[in-house]
Amino acid sequence: MQRFSALSLFRQGLSGHRGWRAQWRSPEPKAAYDALIIGAGGHGLGTAYYLAREHGMRNIAVLDRGWLGGGNTGRNTTIIRSNYLFDESAALYDHAVKLWEGLSQTLNYNVMFSPRGVLMLAHTVHDVQVFQRHIHANRLNGVDNEWLSAEEAKAYCPPIEIGRHLRYPVIGAALQRRGGTARHDAVAWGFARAADAMGVDIIENCAVTAIHRDAAGAVTGVETTRGTIRAPKVGVVAAGHTSVVMAMAGLRMPLESYPLQALVSEPVKPVFPCVVMSNTIHAYISQSDKGELVIGAGTDAYTSYSQRGGLHISSHTLEAICELFPMFRRMRMLRNWGGIVDVTPDRSPIIAKTSVPGLYVNSGWGTGGFKATPGSAHVFAWTMAKDEPHRINAPFTIERFRDGLLIDEAAAAAVAH
């Protein structure tokens, strides 16, 4: 792998940058691998990276029907935090935050992890109760999260309107200082480059059309638009299309797929220092390094595989933004887009083995998968390599929906992910 550094950039600058090589290859698929990962998003590429790096599995491939990082990895609002209520979730997401903190150096790729703080606004007495519960639980779990008064929240993020005249006045906030944002594309590219350097084949424009199984039901490989590929282990990391892929192995997933929209404003000079989320009035916002205000909210109400949402959803989101930040009314929407998110009944992911030997699945991240990318990939790689879950993802089974051991963050948190 060609190392990236200020020095290499300088040297290449002197020679007109002619010497940069491809960050990853574009190989033809081989007939067989030790493992396949379906879906070249952050979670899938990360899984390949950790399989190669930590488990020595280098004869592996990542398949994607489109371009790598082109799904939800490249469409999300890049919020990273770990202040989840339940022990299982806190462990999973904080595992990810700890990996985020060193990811640029690990990958030798600046993923621009920026722990600028995630501020969640409380507008009602009920919000306060819920946030206090989170803060106490987080503290005991070793996850930072602190209560701010409305005035302290305004001091931390000056654009917030905290006047009592508001329809939903801000009465306080929970702040996770270690939370923040990262550059989403760089995460996919960084993992792709590092995995490729260890021999992982990343095969784009290669749609899986069938999953092959032997007489005993175990996975033997997949059929793709670029031919048959054999492998004893297949990990499905296909986000909004997981149900479709898993159906190829005869498995019905407890997932529903919804469009989720996001939008950015035209770029402006730094005006917004952190991430602000408000569940009561349905919006979240941060400012990218480029200067765009990055804004999102909840999913559309109806299930769909169409990567676009309704106008009324973006309108509703901007109503909330303008209410909280009335000086942004004259800012303008530059670009709006949609992705398809796969949602489980308890709004927590599934990172698990399946009833089909050799078939593994990492899905159900709903609206909040980006923040977990390295942690999710790390434990999923473990699960695929060892054929048993890592301690952290052991609770995130499919069977929990049968057995009732739910991890219901949505019900408990009352916070958009």
Binding site: R21, N110, R116, H126, N141, Y168, M327, M331
Partner: protein
């Protein structure tokens, strides 16, 4: 300053109405009808901005919404500051103030331009490769600096006072784009008696006709024809013409968003008038007549002020009467730019040379230029330009037979100029068509992506369909309007031919970088002006393995600026295709996203601000509570009285007094926010059997029961008392916050799962005012007011309901209690709520009747261990967890959630269960949400056993109490556990959740 570059006559500006304005603090004069860009050019000002990355000096390039460079901030006062407006779209008004952006200290001397010196080391994506060490330096040091350099304008700092409107509209035919094709389409649809909406983003409709000075249509000068056509449309009652209105988004089922700008062009707008209006139009048929955009040429140093698009220059000259320079070089790859050269020549601008990339330019325009004495250089490209703040010269080089330019820096001819016009040809604007999910196909003849298969009921006409030439656009537009009208079920209009003379065809051109004979790894030939993406950046991305056009876009940021690639995408694609060695159509386009041009947040938000952001719901008794000095709290959309402090009381004292009044005498409480659903029909009881865990069949009319409903996953969703008014009629109540959700859930099941059940559901939440009367003396207060029912202890036992009259008003009277005391809930029609409330108050005066609020209600119920759904439960509690398993109908076969309750984990002994907590110190009130542990000394992660759900000072027990959910809690009653708080630990003992009157004797008072 004088308008040195204004022509003596011509144009659509009003020379009798001068307009003074200020740009970067300097005063200038323009004319009514000018844009800020045309007025600045009239004053010889080309330098108007700085680019995003390298802070390079930039001038006006275009004349419309595709402008990438001339972005300005405009304001009347700070609250109206609007950044990033295109000067080419800002209409001039008297006193307009504007400023340039992304420069410090000034536009001419910008510190940020230092970045340009470092440019060799800052290629596309450089930030992914560096700033890695030390680990914290990125967030602490580099990122803040990069952020400060990035961004363009500045955000406004004060709340925007302007109003924004929204409206919905239906029409037969929506025509987007008011150029010749769009106007012809509207004329045809109007002739067919269709309801038509015609919108155009500019202040005046007409599109290319506004700069057309030579062509005639049906024997009339083009602009005279335009005036007559617009007058005809204005007379049509079924036609709505919307200028300054951008069709920005094309959604499913012919739903189109339009953004109309109403006051930004006025010197003194009415402060009551909306600034913008968002139209949401559902059209039977759509005609897209969105025209085409001219492409820049990608040659080295093609970004200096004074380098602009050829057709833009023509527009400034013909429409605004502005000469954009005094000595021009024209670079082109097609005939269209010759028209600009000729127009400039005739207006007295010296045209030093036309550099034509084609080896043998020919045709009438070329001949005309030649005849006018303009020097034409065939097979010639621009190899570079000079000039810091304005282009000073261009270097022209010959292209050899192989398409390569003569090498060596000395080769070529340097031509002095202060204006360099470029035209790579025109790109059809297929944005909306593509947004609608219509499929595009590459047309090799016009070298453009054109609409192929529509996904919606829409037609494209004119230049956006690759149809160039005025006559063809008019005919095609008219035919599209006619077909749309007929398809919408209106009349078709007779086909119309248009006799056009003097117009020219602007097809042809080139895509991608032009040859220059210099070191391609060194020169800056800009593809995306605003984001400073050069041809070599695109090639670098390909070299680094970015093969998808989406990757190339994201890595280089080409097409991601505020113009969203309007002028750059096709050139970037062509350069990428060459670098990839693949045919251009195979590389493909990036996805077109809404909005077509940026739209104000305010327009999306519309009326929804302040009180209109979300309705504030008030009960009929709310005005009384306000007059009585209540302190309110927000519960969902409702505001509810929290307590009624008397002079000098704080919440603690007020609640103590209110609680004692209920326990010892009688209290009155406004329960009107409770959700209410009337469930009626022969199958009503069966329906409730399925929705609730309880059994309802045997509930006698006149009786009521506390019901609990679950979600499918077996967890408590809502609760409330249900009264049976008649065999086929139930009065269902829900929690305040759950009302809408419960009704929606019931409707969902009724309509999708059990359509065979004969049941009607009606929300009656706002029809009934609910007055709760609680306390040992409640009956004494109420009895004298009740007619038509015996409410005596035996005749009307606990959990009964009667239809009767209370204070002369038809009522449903419940005997229920959420306080543990003898209690009644009087339901009367909302309009009578306040009158009945006051009648009861009068009747209670002798009993010391005390109004109380939600805080007291909470304390009363907590003393009794009654749960509140959403406080004790959080979506993870089963009925058994909160001690309500006794409610589950034993003989029922099924209900929503029953199957889930049978799952293994639902019966696990270590589930969290409802218990009471008593602190060691009776004055210590625990914090709601605090966690409970067995051993507070454990290091993190500390195993948590549960959490505090409710905690109050109990005036009745004269000590603190709390409810909690604790793992295996019922079996732990009597144990001592710990609540760790920051810096200290509170010791608690677990007890039964019912703190007061465990036997319930007071209910039966």
């Amino acid at each position: 300053m004088s308008e040195a570059f204004r022509t003596r006559d011509g144009g659509r500006i009003d020379r009798t109405r001068p307009r003074s304005f200020r740009f970067d603090g300097v005063g200038y004069q323009g004319l009514a009808g000018d844009t800020l860009a045309s007025a600045l050019l009239a004053n010889g000002v080309h330098l108007v901005g700085r680019s995003f990355k390298y802070h390079r000096p930039r001038g006006v390039v275009a004349a419309g919404s595709d402008e990438p460079n001339a972005l300005v901030g405009v304001w009347r006062d700070e609250a109206s500051y609007a950044p990033n407006l295109r000067a080419t779209q800002v209409e001039l008004y008297e006193g307009l103030r504007a400023e340039s952006q992304n420069r410090s200290p000034s536009l001419r001397f910008d510190r940020g331009a230092m970045a340009g010196l470092l440019a060799p080391f800052l290629p596309a994506g450089f930030y992914y490769k560096t700033f890695l060490w030390p680990r914290r330096a990125w967030a602490r040091f580099w990122e803040p600096r990069i952020r400060a350099m990035a961004g363009l304008g500045r955000a406004p700092t004060l709340p925007d006072r302007d109003r924004y409107a929204q409206t919905y509209a239906h029409c037969d035919v929506l025509v987007v784009g008011g150029g010749p094709a769009g106007i012809a389409a509207a004329l045809a649809a109007a002739a067919g008696h269709a309801r038509v909406i015609l919108c155009d983003e500019q202040a005046e409709l007409g599109g290319s006709l506004l700069a057309e000075t030579e062509a005639t249509i049906d024997g009339m000068a083009a602009q005279a024809w335009l005036a007559e056509a617009l007058a005809r449309l204005a007379r049509e009652p079924r036609v709505r013409v919307l200028p300054r209105t951008t069709g920005f988004g094309y959604f499913a089922h012919n739903f189109v968003g339009l953004a109309e700008r109403l006051t930004d062009h006025l010197a003194e707008p009415d402060p009551q008038a909306p600034r913008e209006r968002l139209w949401q139009v559902r059209a039977r048929e759509v005609v897209l007549a969105t025209g085409a955009l001219e492409r820049p040429l990608v040659f080295p140093e093609n970004d200096r002020p004074g380098i602009m698009l050829a057709d833009a220059a023509r527009t400034y000259l013909r429409r605004y009467g502005v000469k954009p320079g005094s000595r021009a070089v024209v670079a082109t790859a097609h005939d269209g730019a010759y028209r600009a050269a000729l127009d400039l020549h005739r207006a007295g601008v010296a045209v030093a040379a036309v550099a034509d990339l084609r080896p043998d330019p020919e045709g009438p325009l070329v001949e005309a230029a030649r005849a006018a004495g303009i020097a034409i250089r065939p097979a010639t490209a621009i190899a570079g330009t000079k000039g810091r703040l304005r282009v000073r010269s261009a270097r022209l080089v010959r292209i050899g037979a192989e398409g390569e330019a003569g090498g060596g820096a000395s080769a070529g001819e340097t031509v002095g100029c202060d204006l360099l016009l470029m035209s790579g040809g025109f790109t059809p604007s297929v944005h909306l068509f593509s947004q609608s999910r219509g499929q595009l196909a590459f047309d090799p003849v016009s070298a453009a992506f054109l609409p192929a298969r529509p996904a919606e009921r829409c037609r494209s006409a004119g230049a956006c369909r690759g149809t160039f030439g005025l006559a063809a656009a008019l005919i095609e537009g008219y035919a599209a309007g006619e077909a749309a009208s007929a398809a919408a079920g209106r009349g078709g209009a007779p086909g119309l031919g248009f006799a056009v003379t003097g117009a020219i065809d602007t097809r042809g051109g080139t895509l991608g970088a032009t040859p220059h004979g210099r070191d391609a790894a060194r020169v800056k030939a800009f593809v995306d002006f605003q984001n400073d993406v050069t041809a070599k950046d695109v090639k670098l991305a390909v070299r680094e393995g970015f093969r998808s056009i989406e990757h190339i876009k994201r890595y280089t940021t080409t097409g991601m600026a505020t113009d969203q690639g309007k002028s750059s995408n096709m050139n970037a694609l062509a350069i990428a295709a060459v670098a990839l060695g693949r045919p251009l159509p195979e590389v493909g386009l990036t996805t077109f996203r809404m909005p077509y041009t940026p739209v104000s947040f305010g327009a999306f938000a519309g009326f929804a601000r302040g009180e209109l952001f979300d309705p504030l719901r008030r009960t009929p008794i709310d005005p009384w509570a306000e007059a009585a000095g209540a302190v309110f709290e927000e519960v969902g959309q409702w505001r509810r009285a929290r307590y009624f402090p008397r002079e000098g009381e704080d919440m603690h004292q007020a609640v103590g007094r209110e609680v004692r009044a209920v326990r010892q005498g009688v209290g009155i409480f406004d329960g009107s926010t409770l959700g209410k659903i009337e469930v009626v029909g022969p199958d009503a009881a069966e329906f409730l059997n399925r929705m609730y865990v309880n059994a309802w069949s045997k509930l006698a009319p006149g009786r009521c029961r506390y019901g609990v409903m679950l979600r499918e996953d077996g967890f408590v969703m809502d609760d409330g008392v249900v009264g049976r008014m008649a065999p086929d009629r139930f009065h269902v109540t829900t929690t305040t916050g759950g009302a809408a959700r419960v009704l929606a859930t019931m409707e969902d099941y009724l309509q999708t799962e059990w359509a065979d059940l004969d049941v009607w559901l009606t929300s009656t939440s706002e029809q009934w005012a609910v007055i709760a009367l609680q306390g040992p003396r409640a009956r004494e207060v109420l009895a004298p007011l009740v007619a038509g029912a015996d409410i005596g202890r035996e005749a009307f036992p606990h959990m009964s309901v009667r239809a009767c009259r209370v204070a002369g008003v038809e009522a449903r009277l419940f005997r229920v209690s959420f306080s543990g005391e003898l209690g009644f809930e009087v339901n009367v029609p909302a309009d009578y709520g306040r009158a009945v409330w006051e009648a009861i108050l009068r009747a209670g005066r002798g009993f010391g009747i005390t109004p109380y609020g939600t805080e007291t209600m909470h304390v009363l119920r907590a003393e009794k261990g009654y749960i509140i759904v959403g406080q004790e439960t959080d979506g993870t509690a089963t009925p058994d967890d909160v001690g309500l398993s006794g409610l589950i109908g034993r003989t029922k076969k099924d209900f929503v959630g029953a199957r889930s309750l049978r799952r293994a984990a639902m019966a696990a002994p270590d589930r969290k269960q409802l218990v009471g907590l008593l602190t060691e110190d009776p004055r210590e009130v625990l914090q709601e949400g605090a966690q409970i542990v067995a051993n507070p000394q454990t290091p993190a992660p500390v195993p948590m056993l549960g959490h505090v759900t409710s905690a109050y000072h109990s005036p009745t027990l004269e000590r603190s109490i709390a409810l909690a959910m604790v793992r295996g809690g019922r079996a732990r009653i009597g144990e001592v556990l710990f609540v760790p708080m920051p810096g200290r630990v509170v010791k608690v003992s677990l007890c039964d959740p019912v703190f007061f009157d465990r036997e319930g004797v007071r209910l039966d008072g």
